[in-house]
Symmetry: C2
Subunit: 244 residues, 2 copies
DNA sequence: GAGTGGTCTAGACCACTAG
DNA sequence: TAGTGGTCTAGACCACTCT
């Protein structure tokens, strides 16, 4: 295996992390598999040990790998479903990491004036139009989460014309705004389902669900997107691996 | 300022991270303050740039700092209250990072046989006794969270005799078991308050709250502790900063 | 003692920001 | 162009695990 510096514009350690993720998802490295030693990997991949460690660190955070000093690096037994608490990734990316089948229904979309909440999150005025989309995501044909997104049209011109289902919203935003998303702030709360949400998720009204609200930023701390996510936790776990 | 290799048994980068956290909490570095360049810091602290970067990475994860390529490293505007989604830290540690005043009521404690849930989480049998403690934590005299902990007495002999309020449960576990806690798995869900919980938190029965369940591991993936945490999110945010 | 991860160093070059 | 963070290298020594 060979990796080339900046071959696809991505840093080496990210290419390696991706390569490792694929090995795990394709079953080449099964649960409990012991990876070659860092030194050995570095030699095989023709990079330095530090770069290998950086790639491994990424998968540790996602809960895919586990390291034990003196013993080695192992593929973790996977219980975690949404690594939503750890990395700024989209639902689709999360599902890809886990190798799950998923599906999307677009409930509605429109160009609209921002509510006060959205004005605040996106740092825009009442007359700066935003693109709104509401979707239900399904895992194995079962509705699992409701996502509402608001995107500033000023900052992401053309976002309302793009095919977000094909490319993914994050990618569309990055293309329209011609920047890279750099980080996000996600907050966790609980709420009771209202009537419409209950219908969309096939649950009872009033059932407690996880509720995330999120801002996503581009360069210079400019908010490009904000969203509200309602997540049922009775079937799929939202978990994270925490290092000491 | 000088740091010494392994002076208090802690790695250099952790000592530096602590020193930085103190600077922020004591107000020496205020919101928006621009830190010296990494190179400069490394020179001042008499360590290599890599070590400085590792310390900064820790505070980035906690949301205390923010880095912008080409511009510098800055003290973040703080909105985040519980960095519970990112690092394996106790409630007390989280409050210290933020510099908040807090308070604890012990509701009950006892030595007991583990329930099935606890047997499963701690990987013990029905006749392996566990130490149980239930506490309410208050921030500024307002009840904010309920924590129930179960600790294996076999693996942490003397835990039932120790003063956990003074030292903190994590420290007591580490001393009794004579090991270091290495990582944890925390899962996020939502639930409706039952009558007792509602009373303890001064909220209405049925109110939706965040519910975390957690396992904490020592060396060799041996679970030492498990816990259930009920968290009101109406007043304090549980948030994390997510890097892309 | 051999193998492995954890930490640390010193130096290099690149990409981005700002004057 | 100077300043700053992002990435990468090569090598060193330590702490821990297992045999």
């Amino acid at each position: 295996m060979k990796f080339v510096k900046q071959s696809d514009g991505k840093p080496l350690y990210q290419q390696i992390a991706k390569w490792m993720t694929e090995h795990i998802n394709l079953g080449k490295w099964k649960e409990g598999y012991k990876l070659p030693a860092e030194e050995e990997l570095a030699y095989q991949l023709n990079v330095s040990r530090g770069t290998v460690r950086k790639a491994i660190a990424k998968l540790l955070k996602q809960g895919l790998l586990e390291q034990i000093q003196g013993k080695g690096t192992f593929v973790r037994k996977q219980k975690i479903s949404y690594p939503f608490a750890q990395e700024l990734i989209s639902f689709a990316e999360a599902m890809e990491i886990k190798g799950y089948y998923f599906d999307t229904d677009v409930v509605s979309y429109k160009v609209m004036q921002p509510s006060e909440w959205v004005q605040n999150k996106l740092e825009v005025g009442l007359y700066d139009l935003v693109y709104y989309v509401k979707r239900v995501r399904k895992i194995d044909y079962e509705p699992a989460i409701i996502i509402e997104n608001w995107v500033s049209i000023d900052r992401c011109p053309g976002v309302d014309q793009a095919n977000i289902n094909e490319k993914g919203l994050f990618k569309v935003i990055e293309e329209c705004a011609d920047v890279e998303l750099t980080y996000g702030v996600r907050s966790f709360a609980a709420k009771a389902l209202n009537e419409e949400e209950a219908r969309l998720l096939n649950l009872k009204e009033g059932a407690p669900v996880l509720y995330l609200d999120q801002q996503t930023f581009g360069p210079n701390d400019l908010p490009l997107e904000c969203s509200r996510i309602v997540l049922r936790t009775d079937q799929y776990e939202v978990a994270s691996v925490l290092k000491r």
